[in-house]
């Protein structure tokens, strides 16, 4: 079973990479972009029946730094969002 973990910077945390991408897109002539935020996608291939709780623990222990990042866990059935207040 494929599990996808999306790691994104918390709201309010400055994202220098997102900003650079934003400027580069405008430099290419694209307009109407309000904001760009860059994040990571981590794909796990898990055994059937492996618990979602485990993935959540993986996120807290390693995949995300919850001081500055939020994470979303998604498989074909469910989507668990862990959005916390801004750092």
């Amino acid at each position: 079973m494929k599990v996808r973990v999306y790691v994104t910077l918390k709201k309010g945390v400055l994202d220098p990479q997102g900003k650079a991408i934003h400027h580069a897109l405008e430099g290419l002539g694209f307009s109407g972009i309000n904001d760009v935020r860059a994040g990571k996608l981590i794909e796990l291939d898990m055994e059937e029946g492996a618990g979602d709780d485990d993935v959540e623990e993986m996120c807290r222990k390693l995949l995300a730094n919850t001081v500055i990042e939020n994470f979303v866990i998604e498989n074909d059935k469910v989507r668990i969002e862990r959005a916390e207040s801004a750092a």
Binding site: L14, P16, Q17, A20, K61, A87
Partner: protein, 224 residues
Amino acid sequence: MKSAVIVFPGSNCDRDMAEALRLVSGRAPAMVWHRESELPAGLDLIAIPGGFSYGDYLRAGAMAAQSPVMRAVSEAAERGVLVLGVCNGFQVLTEARLLPGALMRNSGIRFVGRDVAVTVENSQSPFTAGYEAGEEIVLPVAHHDGNFQADDEILDRLEGEGRIAFRYAGEVNGSARGIAGILNQAGNVLGMMPHPERAVEAAHGFAGGRRLFEGLLEAVGQPA
């Protein structure tokens, strides 16, 4: 002073750190590989050097923080052993939650490698006892992810408890409140982005980092 330098795959300031420790203390440190689960007995100081441990994969310091040796470092820190993390070492200490906050990409995106003026904010810690409070020293920085961030509550607590050891005298990387180095609550763990080990002898051009190591010797009862 009995010291150890932790070596991760991708560390590149481990030998600079070892040389600075040898030069100032007269005793070469033990070099401890990241796979070790035990540290040499009777250490006064553990140094976590700069570099790009594990290629900075996932986040700078994230993989190193989970390595076997870091469990031993955490236990030693709890017992009061002095722990100095420089540059990538600072990133490792925040990822290991031995220090609060996080080190993010420099606000200007670019890698910053130059000599910067740093103000000593607190001269009461074992790491800064060789300096005067408010003194300005010059140390080299060389990092891509040195932008220290934490929420306001943590930043206020760091200020209130005198745990900001060093502050940049000018803008360097976007760090909240200009923070260049912080202490843990007990005062025995210091993380800093500037490199004191690259400023310990005349050949380095300036020696502002030397007194950090001399202060440590003093703190463990073996003045230089």
